[in-house]
């Protein structure tokens, strides 16, 4: 095992001989990595509405990553009997009902009024890190896997955000989440 003195020496040598620069990804590489991460991390599963296809439900790429369709007004969620079933979702996979209430997946396209067009990369990173909307507001609700995605390193989140800013903007105003029925009765103004 190295001693503290050896470590100091190693650090000093490294400081002296290395130029300590990291090759930064080009913008194109950054976007490509972001696309790779979005594609492999399941973002489309919930943020791109599903539609019936020849082989069953498939993502509707004409509405890529635009979240729950604003024109799909959901009826009240079914009330599940006591038992092991806990969660229901819409056929689009963009509306989810559970003990937290009803959540709708967000519009991740760069539309400035309904998507992420006015967000900064800091807003995006703060959201994923904190599990709060814009990093400061209401809690991000299930099924968004914040406990998983909060493990992304900064470079990955920056790449994801870079990619999301390049996809086609889609104007789609996603509804606000609904509280659980008990809360809806007692505290919603």
């Amino acid at each position: 095992m190295k001693t503290a003195k050896q470590l100091l020496l190693s650090a000093a040598i490294a400081a002296g001989v290395a130029n300590f620069t990291t090759p930064a990804l080009s913008d194109a590489d950054q976007v490509a990595r972001g696309k790779y991460l979005v594609t492999t991390s399941g973002c489309h599963d919930c943020h791109t509405p599903f539609k019936p296809g020849l082989n069953g439900a498939e993502p509707d790429m004409s509405r890529m990553l635009s979240g729950h369709p604003q024109d799909l007004v959901m009826p009240p969620a079914p009330v599940l009997p006591d038992g092991p079933w806990l969660v229901t979702s819409s056929a689009t996979n963009t509306a989810w009902s559970g003990p937290w209430g009803v959540s709708f997946t967000a519009n991740l396209t760069p539309d400035p009024e309904t998507g992420l067009g006015r967000w900064t990369v800091r807003n995006f990173k703060d959201t994923i890190r904190s599990g709060r909307h814009l990093g400061r507001g209401r809690p991000i609700l299930p099924p968004m896997p914040i406990p998983v995605y909060s493990n992304f390193i900064d470079a990955d989140l920056e790449a994801i955000f870079s990619y999301l800013q390049t996809i086609p903007p889609i104007s789609n105003r996603v509804p606000e989440p609904l509280p659980p029925p008990v809360q809806a009765v007692s505290v919603t103004p």
Binding site: A4, L7, L8, A11, F20, R122, G137, L141, V187, P189
Partner: protein, 403 residues
């Protein structure tokens, strides 16, 4: 030096604060901060290693990158409040020399809890006040805020570390008041406290501390030119009269604890330039409770990108007008289900009233709505603000809120 482990052979991948786990022969712990050393930082790195450092481990990449891991807060934060420097050694409750008391004129609503506040600046240091709304605090600065509900329940600590980063912690008071103990970094969602709303008191998590404190240009929220102005607002809600030993803008300057403060702010202390007493109090309340997020994103880079500006700026004489214009705007990304609103001011009031966690404002730190603030807002809305609205703005498109 604290301690550090052996080198770990590459490849390695530094992870995020609080997530990576180091395993060495001497130590295993959560990593708080990863710092990639560029050439200009090497000197500082070596200083850490040689001095009273908190470096836990060094990692050498095969080429060109040197990473340093600093231990997580939980490893270095004192376990007791009495060990944070607030009190004289062995005398919990008696503040230590050099610790100053202060009282912001517009306090944060905390469900009616009473509060006391302190600040400590290292000897010989001072605050750079050249940016009136983004004071630069010296490393070693500490601030404490004590929350009481019948008795002291919690004391929160904000500290600026030697590397310039900030850390946040909460301490929960023992029943006998002998000391307070470090709370888990994940907070305590439901601490039983008689007298608190529903007899439940929430101790914030460390991320929730950052959610509010890191939304503005500087993480210190209640210690600023406006909050410490000697020209205090007599109509400010929930304000506690300043104590005889409390520091304010003038006493800080007199003691040499502020440098580069624009002289105009001493000659004419900051004051919200509102057309009425209610307007002044309402704008001050919105500043203290909402402005740390709803601010000019150009100042902080972390404000929320919505068309609602609620922060006051001591360095901008037009702040009150800018906020009023913002409140009178009619566009909003947020739609309150079943609650049509004419302007953002009405929407703000509705969200202040709500305690639905998806809707309420502020979004954390409070379980019950502030009845006095709602009354003030509704009074102000019904008179002054709405008259301005109906006279010239209600049908106009939303104004650009940021100068």
């Amino acid at each position: 030096m604290t301690r550090f482990t052996h080198l770990i052979a590459p490849p390695f991948r530094p992870d995020q604060p609080g997530r990576a786990r180091l395993t060495g022969r001497q130590a295993t712990g959560q990593v708080d901060t990863w710092i990639r050393s560029q050439t200009h930082r090497v000197k500082r790195l070596l200083t850490w290693l040689a001095g009273p450092a908190s470096a836990l481990a060094i990692f050498l990449a095969p080429v060109s990158i040197l990473w340093v891991a600093l231990p997580a807060n939980g490893e270095t934060l004192p376990l007791l409040l009495s060990e944070t420097g607030l009190f004289r050694p062995g005398e919990a409750g008696i503040t230590a020399p050099g610790v100053l008391t202060f009282s912001p004129q517009y306090p944060l609503w905390s469900d009616g809890a009473t509060k006391r506040r302190w600040i400590y600046l290292p000897p010989g240091s001072s605050i750079d006040a050249s940016r009136p709304d983004a004071w630069e605090f010296p490393p070693g600065t500490k601030l404490w805020k004590e929350f009481s509900v019948g008795r002291a329940v919690e004391t929160r600590v904000v500290e600026r570390l030697e590397d310039g980063t900030w850390r946040f912690a909460a301490y929960v008071w023992r029943q006998d008041g002998s000391d307070a103990e470090l709370a888990p970094s994940g907070g305590i969602a439901a601490l039983p406290v008689p007298g608190a709303p529903d007899s439940i008191y929430g101790v914030p998590s460390e991320p929730d501390c950052r959610a509010c404190h890191e939304g503005g240009p500087v993480p210190v929220l209640g210690f600023s030119a406006l909050q410490l102005s000697p020209d205090r607002d007599p109509g400010a809600l929930h304000a506690q009269p300043p104590g005889t030993t409390d520091v304010d803008l003038r006493t800080l300057a007199d003691r040499g604890l502020l440098r580069n403060l624009p002289a105009g702010l001493l000659n004419s202390p900051p004051r919200i330039d509102a057309p009425s007493a209610d307007g002044r109090a309402a704008l001050g309340y919105l500043h203290a409770n909402c402005g740390h997020c709803h601010n000019d994103p150009r100042e902080s880079g972390a404000g929320v990108p919505v068309d609602l500006l609620l922060a006051q700026y001591a360095g901008r004489p037009d702040s009150a007008g800018a906020v009023i214009d913002s409140l009178l705007g009619t566009t909003s990304r947020f739609r309150m289900t079943g609650q049509p609103t004419r302007n953002r001011a009405e929407l703000v009031t509705l969200r202040m009233h709500s305690r639905n966690p998806n809707t309420q404002m502020p979004p954390l730190g409070t379980r019950i709505a502030d009845a006095q603030a709602l009354s003030l807002m509704e009074r102000w809305l019904a008179s002054e603000l709405q008259s301005q609205n109906s006279s010239n703005k209600i049908n106009s498109p939303a104004k650009e809120i940021l100068p």
